[in-house]
Amino acid sequence: MTNKKPKNVFKQGAISSDFIGNSIAKHQTKTSIGAHNIFLGQVRADVIDNKTVAAIEYTAYEDMANAKFDSIREAAFDKFELTCMHIYHSLGTVKSGEICLFVFISSPRRKVVFKALEFIVEAIKADVPVFGKEIFEDETHQWKKNT
């Protein structure tokens, strides 16, 4: 464990397609990269007992979550030949259809980015203390669990 404070992964609200597009554009100067891979988590309008999920309200144990994101990042750099990696997760309300997780990795070659992205996303789902309150259209709610 390092003493430096981990980077803050969280953004308030949904992650916009402009933000995602700009992140891609910023990599045009990094010409050692030959392959990018992107995961976008989108809020699904699940139907549970005839009620439709309208939004998810995300909260997190932010200190621990940022420390976990940091160790996932370090593990991925150790395991795979990556040039760079960016992770953003929403906090607060994200409506169904909007993006709540953006993982963007880059490498000189393509094969590694497929494996690395799966490793990173599965680790995020399993290890990071983020909580999701699924809010139905009638304003009742239930707590989401990753499966």
Binding site: G41, I56, Y61, M64, K68, I124, A126, V130, F131, W143
Partner: protein, 77 residues
Amino acid sequence: MTLNIKYFGVIAEITQCHEEVLEFSKSSIEDLLDILFDKYPEIKIKDFQTAMNNEIVSKNSIISTSEIALLPPFAGG
């Protein structure tokens, strides 16, 4: 010692607060949970993990930091 207990998600709904300060004279996580179960019987049947120093710890861990968090199932992504 003085502990700062943090609650999240469905656990915070039951405790009706996101954190509280508690004077604690015993030693393990289990001892602390016994106290919390007396105070909030409903959390006893809930699925949650306990974290100390940004790591998930087992019930028989000895409390060594002032901040303890009760974490319901994760839903990131």
